[in-house]
Subunit: 146 residues, 4 copies
């Protein structure tokens, strides 16, 4: 017998040192950089599958970004080291959604999500998740078969 | 007698030439740059009020970004000149929402919104819209008193 | 009879509106962005040859950057529209050097140069200037045969 | 008796994980990002003085960039972790020059220098090195009194 057990997705955190170039004249990090930090955290989370994202690309697939939402609650400053948490919030056969939280010294600065679709790099057309990544991504999402 | 007439918000478009530095190894513009393009279009729209945004800041107020949503439908490429349309979708006494559309050669590449709150630059606390900007922003939003 | 006439290289200027995201917490444009502006001006200069740079790439050649020098004399500010001048300062069969000047309201903010080598995109190896570009680039450099 | 002993400047290395957003359509890191990496390495080197750069700014001084030179020998790729070495190559009472080397897996990708001047943040005018930083920076430069 095989069934899905309910479980939590893997939550992975990275540290990012704020770059001077990321600040703007308000004295805080420009809001566009949070999408770049999300990507760093997503890269680190995907690495846990054993297949780093640059290898996924070399094998011919892209996880193209189709949407993003961001909510800003406070500003990161030069001199801060922020922590960016990422987890796989939604996993379907053709699409995914990652969720994010950005904190500095315990205080929540931003939350967000990004939506993605698997794309075949050669044809640039949507595709299902590559077969060898199905199980690793299901584990990331907190699903397991027994 | 004074009343509000229902009208459309002012829709303003700018042209942005894609920069080589904005592309990534997928061969299209990295998704974080759309927030920067949104900001360019927002700056141009606000300029229509007669008070450019850098003057609003010099007078002591910020339009801080509190949220953003982006939906990507196609990739902009180096060599493209994209058109970014912006309008004031929601106007309240303390918050605003701008909406955006990005097109290249007629094809819709992305849509999005950004949410903002008025902030007093000195105290870094939320405030109402500066009195001298109330009418110009209401006109942008398509409201007028008669 | 054929000889080279001495002449000035074509100097081409573009206007760039300073982006909020380009400023840093000093209140001026972060120094790394000048390399991006140089590239915009170089793109516009190369377009004068009749072959836009993205077409040069599509035909299989890259003008890879091998060096850069920048000298900063003043800061560009949000609200400024800067003028970036570019010309082809040195043209050899395998390498080029472009020179740049950045001004805001007549005042010189920065000067610089970038060095480049022609590269075959497929092999990623240095090559001579593509034959069809030799004359257009010589005209840019101010040389002409009679 | 007091004299200067000749010694080597402190060489400090940091690791930087290449960001997807830093790549361009050539498949390597866009050349402008090396100035941002240099700044990260400079920040880390200055931290060795015991006064992090954001504190230097809070005390009212800026180390403004007045010049930069870069030489590119190879391209960094997404998936690479590069090592950026930085040292204080020239130290005068009013100006400094830092030098840099960027490597990936032992291979030299780029070298460069940046020139700086001390600026009083309030007046935005050049100044001498803040007195409390004179000795720490001389130690960084490899000078010591005995």
């Amino acid at each position: 017998m095989s069934f899905l057990t309910s479980a939590q997705p893997t939550r992975h955190e990275i540290e990012v040192e704020v770059r001077y170039a990321e600040t703007d004249q308000m004295g805080v990090v420009h809001h566009s950089n949070y999408l770049v930090w999300f990507e760093l955290a997503r890269t680190a989370l995907c690495r846990l599958t054993g297949v780093p994202y640059h290898e996924i690309e070399q094998r011919g697939s892209w996880l193209m970004v189709t949407g993003a939402r961001l909510s800003y609650r406070g500003g990161a400053r030069y001199g801060d080291t922020v922590r960016v948490a990422c987890w796989l919030a939604v996993l379907k056969s053709r699409t995914l959604e990652f969720a994010y939280e950005v904190r500095a010294e315990g205080s929540l600065l931003a939350t967000g999500t990004t939506e993605h679709v698997w794309v075949d790099a050669a044809s640039r057309r949507p595709r299902r998740i590559p077969e060898e990544l199905r199980e690793p991504f299901e584990r990331l999402a907190g699903r397991s078969s027994a």
